[in-house]
């Protein structure tokens, strides 16, 4: 049962931003992550600022020749089924379809999905962990089955978003709006690793929000995909996932991005894997080489060594699948 809070339903972006700066106000886009955090008392919240009344934040439009703009309040289900997204941005459509459960895809928004709070059973549980202002990351010495093998430093959760790795792979940007104006942040630069600040997940300032996502027109020969290995067919977050966006010239990869989910506290772009395939013909040998390269710096905790094996398997499998598209 949720603790008390006050509630305002903003009718404009300006109104939402005014409230955002006050007290312990929290934004409610779809609410599926927020309500969970409030129920688990992950953070204090005296005021919920609902964005659901702001129509301008909803919908998917074409920009330019083949780019796409997605309003932050567009539901995950709409992103997954949208024809424009499916036509040019397969990885995003597949990632959106892999999110949580049907009902949560109907409720959750793309803006909320990329701004999710960490999914770590210590962070969400009754543990005053480092990220909540404590002194310890319980995962480091604890039950770390689902924790980071890359990018961990003082805090070892893995970023829960499926859409974020796909967006990074596709070169998307987030339009960030605050009381000082708006700025465009490449999704790749949107996340803050714990080595920089273990109590912050994104570059958003307290008075800022994501108002839309923009996707540039796909480069010629671009193929993309997203897949995650999960413990169950529904609800579950990624054990090991990979978003690929590769530009092919014949059977050669001329450029591309490989972004992992379930690996690190931020969606993890693997420069090593990209280097291993760029300029190469993609076959079993290069695919395996890329998978090995992606994991070369991975460090297993006590219970998550399997993840390194999973990543190698799923990266290889997905790279080879992309050659058959």
């Amino acid at each position: 049962m949720l603790p008390q809070f006050s509630y305002v339903r903003a009718t404009s972006l300006d109104e939402a931003l005014q409230h955002l700066g006050t007290d312990d106000a929290r934004l409610c886009a779809g609410g599926s992550d927020l309500i969970g955090c409030l129920r688990d008392e992950v953070f204090e919240c005296s005021k919920v600022v609902s964005l659901s009344g702001i129509e301008q934040l909803k919908g998917i439009d074409r920009i330019g020749h083949a780019g796409v703009r997605i309003g932050a309040l567009t539901s995950i289900a709409e992103v997954a089924s949208d024809p424009l997204v499916n036509r040019g941005f397969t990885a995003l459509a597949q990632a959106a379809a892999a999110v949580a459960s049907p009902q949560l895809r109907n409720q959750g928004t793309i803006g909320g999905n990329i701004c999710q709070k960490p999914r770590c059973w210590y962070y969400r549980g009754e543990f005053h962990c480092l990220r909540k202002g404590g002194t310890t990351c319980y995962a480091l010495a604890g039950e770390n089955h689902f924790h980071a093998v890359l990018g961990g430093a003082r805090c070892y959760f893995v970023h829960p978003s499926d859409t974020a790795p796909a967006l990074i792979a596709l070169g998307a940007s987030a339009r960030v709006t605050g009381s000082q104006g708006t700025r465009l942040v490449p999704m790749e630069e949107f996340y803050v690793p714990p080595s920089t600040d273990p109590q912050r997940e994104t570059v958003l300032e307290p008075d800022e929000l994501v108002s839309e996502i923009t996707l540039p027109a796909p480069a010629p020969g671009l193929r993309s995909s997203y897949r995650k290995v999960r413990a169950r067919g529904s609800w579950d977050f990624s054990l090991a996932g990979v978003a690929l966006a590769l530009q092919f010239d014949g059977d050669r990869v001329v450029a591309g991005r490989v972004v992992l989910s379930g690996a690190a506290p931020i969606p993890w772009r693997s420069a090593e894997a990209e280097a291993a395939i760029t300029g190469q013909r993609l076959d079993e040998t290069t695919a395996r080489g890329a998978a090995e390269a992606a994991m070369q710096d991975a460090v297993a905790l006590k219970r998550n060594g399997y993840k390194i094996l999973l990543f190698k398997g799923v990266i290889e499998e997905e790279l080879l699948k992309l050659t058959q598209v």
Binding site: P3, S234, Y306
Partner: protein, 773 residues
């Protein structure tokens, strides 16, 4: 029988009012209604939202209860400050071990053996204080405002370490629960000496939480000195018994009602402390109180299938003759005495013919919630070990796994002094199941698998459920009104298995009425006669003979009246569609409502008592399940493609609900085998880190195959009881996980010896064995 189960499921010994075996009616021959496929008689209520479950109940002036639970695995509560909580809006009562209330602070039951608010909390989730308030939100606000002073104590959360000399003590007596249990027959050394092949292997199954869809909970209301409890329960009389004893009340003053309930699987055979807390809060406030646990609370405090550690050594001759089983098992009772190893060796003892068997079971305390019976206690765990070992033995001697099992089918219960089974359908289960599955062809096909990284495999497992016969006491009334309409009055709960529907079919069979027209009163200690709880796969074999007896008693009386009125021999009359029909002249049929003598009496009441089970025989259900899987050897993902389940549970009473039970058992077995695992933060706090349905993973619609086939071995067991039925609920889940493990082995050549076979475990095992792609 051991541990708590006997008290929860049934009562041992003779029951005076049960008729002697030779006084019962003859078993059914052909049946018209029983054995058909019938939708439920309460289907309308269940799908329209009008079925009122205890958690749905809203009474006038009702308050909401909430419980403060100990957040530590082990702590002493040195004080509880409720001052702030008591002053909060809407709060009407606060109870704790530090408020003066005799009933609340006395050890409340021999059954749970602790104080309601224990000063020493031995597991995360023990009750510390409770609140009643106008809304549940206010109740939880108040719980959050209670300040408890905990002295955190050392804990042990892993039963594999709990018997170490330096392990913290859970109970003063130490961490072993009672003595190690030993069983033996034959000469184990001689058995191994004559074996051609001996294999040994350790196995483990993880702790499962029942988590029925409706959380545990109740609504309590006092009328003067009488208490009514609406409880989500498998057995209203179990609740009545414990609540009355705990509160020092006569049974007659405690009425428990449990018409609908949202699943139990063994976790709702008994009340919780919450039931007593709700009763005390209602008394304190003189208002009804609803107290429904949160999902998190149900993960901590209302039972589990304990983790099981097993070692099995087995010997076999080249011709498939089993020569010896040696088996050592241990399990976690939790923080209090419970069935941590209940029936954990039963399949090894009794499933297959083996003259030389030795078993040893050790029950261990840990600082975690106590175990409770969970759908076939001990059996699926033991099956995980035994059936994988049987597969390995078959491979070692170059025999088909089905063939090896067929070679070792017992006709008597070796573990019960050689008493014969009333029926043994294991052979039919194996043969019919293998046929329906296409076992030989499927094995040949998977053996010829290509060299791709997706591998197919098939596996199977046999099973028996050591109980499932039912038995007395049970009394049922069937009332026939003056207009011919019928009321069935029984104490049993319908926990979702379709009990009401099956019993209406039994009444219909005997009285010639439409099952949907039978009005049913049930699961209410205030209005029905005694029934044991619905559990142990004993509801159908207990209730259906009793209902049949009651219906026959009513029928006898009606036909006697009619015979007198029609001046014919009662033996020449039958009941059909609400009419008395003379066999030799159906045109003379007379509606019951036209019987003058019935109109004068206004009602005929038939009474049925459950007769005893045959003294010199044993009744058990048997099963064999077959499955096919696909394993991605790059990612460890296992896709279950199909299941075939052949079950001998005696007469099939309702083909539709029977099949549903079987599919449900398979689904739950997939959970044990592939997704479910309680995780305790063993190295730091002992707290459960996955006490919710995201992190504790139940199978979803995408994790079970749509392709499931139920093959009923529909052979009535007339010696078992006058309905010829045995239980189906529990056997349906026993062999599933082991069959999956065998299929994964067939696909990959790697044995998964510890549950769950999730990608986490499978990819690691494949890699360790050098079989990863």
């Amino acid at each position: 029988m051991r541990d708590e189960r006997d008290r929860l499921y049934w009562i041992e010994g003779d029951v005076p009012h049960a008729p002697a075996p030779d006084q019962g009616p003859d078993p059914w021959g052909e049946t018209k209604v029983v054995g058909t496929k019938r939708p439920r008689v309460d289907g309308y209520e269940r799908v329209s939202g009008t079925a009122v479950y205890p958690s749905d109940l809203t009474l006038p002036h009702m308050l909401y209860g909430a419980i403060l639970r100990c957040p530590h695995a082990h702590a002493r509560v040195n004080g509880v400050n409720t001052t702030a909580a008591e002053k909060m809006p809407g709060v009407r009562a606060v109870l704790s071990g530090f408020t003066p209330d005799d009933a609340a602070t006395a050890p409340h039951s021999g059954f749970i053996r602790t104080r309601l608010f224990n000063p020493e909390c031995r597991y995360e989730g023990e009750t510390v204080a409770a609140v009643a308030a106008e809304t549940p939100y206010q109740a939880w606000d108040a719980v959050r405002a209670i300040r408890a002073d905990y002295e955190v104590l050392p804990f042990v959360s892993d039963e594999r370490r709990a018997l170490d000399a330096d392990a913290p003590k859970v109970q003063d007596e130490g961490n072993q629960v009672g003595d190690t249990q030993h069983y033996g027959r034959g000469d184990i050394e001689a058995g191994f000496a004559e074996a051609d092949v001996i294999l040994e292997q350790t196995y483990r199954t993880e702790c499962e939480i029942h988590t029925p869809m409706e959380p545990h909970g109740c609504v309590t209301r006092w009328d003067g000195d009488a208490l009514t409890v609406w409880e989500s329960t498998q057995g209203v009389y179990n609740i009545q018994n414990t609540v009355a004893a705990s509160l020092g009340m006569p049974l007659s003053k405690v009425r428990v009602i449990g018409h609908y309930m949202g699943g139990g699987f063994g976790a709702k055979l008994q009340p919780g402390r919450y039931t007593l807390i709700a009763s005390l809060l209602a008394k304190r406030t003189a208002r009804p109180v609803k107290l429904v646990l949160t999902r998190e609370e149900t993960c901590l405090a209302v039972g589990n299938r304990p983790p099981s550690n097993m070692w099995l050594k087995a010997g076999v001759k080249r011709d498939g003759t089993l020569t010896a089983f040696e088996y050592v098992g241990s399990g976690a009772s939790g923080a209090y005495r419970a069935g941590g190893v209940s029936l954990l060796d039963w399949q090894v003892r009794d499933l297959y013919t083996c003259p030389n068997v030795r078993t040893e079971l050790t029950n261990i305390y840990i600082n975690a919630g106590p175990a409770r019976p969970f759908r076939a206690p001990g059996h699926p765990q033991c099956s995980w070990a035994l059936e994988q070992t049987m597969d390995a033995l078959a491979e070692a001697i170059g025999m088909d796994p089905v063939e090896l099992r067929l070679k070792n089918i017992p006709t008597f219960s070796q573990a019960r002094d050689g008493r014969p089974y009333t029926t043994t359908g294991l052979r039919e289960c194996l043969e019919e199941g293998a046929k329906a599955f296409g076992w030989s062809e499927a094995r040949a096909a998977t053996a010829a698998d290509g060299d791709g990284h997706i591998k197919r495999g098939v596996g199977m497992a046999g099973a028996l459920w050591g109980y499932g016969a039912g038995g007395p006491p049970c009394t049922v009334f069937v009332k026939v009104f003056a207009d011919g309409s019928v009321n069935l009055n029984m104490g049993a709960s319908d926990i979702g298995t379709g009990t009401k529907t099956v019993m209406a079919m039994v009444v219909a069979e005997e009285l010639g009425v439409d099952p949907n027209s039978v009005q049913i009163d049930h699961a209410d200690t205030g209005t029905t006669a005694y029934a044991t709880a619905s559990g142990g796969s004993k509801t159908v074999p207990t209730e259906s003979p009793t209902v049949r007896s009651a219906a026959l008693d009513a029928k006898r009386q009606i036909l006697a009246l009619a015979a007198e009125e029609l001046e014919v021999d009662a033996a020449s009359l039958t009941l059909e569609n609400g009419k008395v029909v003379p066999a030799d002249d159906t045109s003379q049929a007379k509606a019951l409502s036209e019987l003058r003598s019935l109109r004068r009496r206004r009602m005929i009441t038939g009474v049925g008592h459950r007769g005893p089970n045959p003294a010199d025989k044993v009744t058990c259900p048997f099963a064999a399940q077959f499955c096919e899987v696909e394993v991605n050897t790059k990612t460890g993902e296992v896709k279950v493609l199909r299941f075939v389940a052949a079950h001998d549970s005696g007469r099939v009473m309702n083909r539709l609900t029977y099949q549903n039970q079987v599919f449900g058992g398979i689904t739950m077995g997939i959970g044990l085998g592939m997704t479910e695992e309680r995780v305790l933060d063993g190295d730091q706090t002992g707290k459960m880190v996955n006490k919710n349905w995201h992190d504790y993973k139940l199978p979803t619609a995408l994790d079970v195959p749509a392709d499931m086939t139920c093959v009923p071995i529909d052979v009535p067991d007339p010696e078992a009881n006058i309905a010829g039925a045995k239980g189906i609920g529990e056997p349906a889940t026993i062999p599933t996980a082991a069959a999956l493990a065998n299929a994964i082995y067939d696909a990959t050549g790697v044995r998964i010896t510890e549950t769950p076979a999730s990608p986490l475990k499978v990819i690691q095992a494949l890699t360790d064995a050098g079989k990863g792609a």
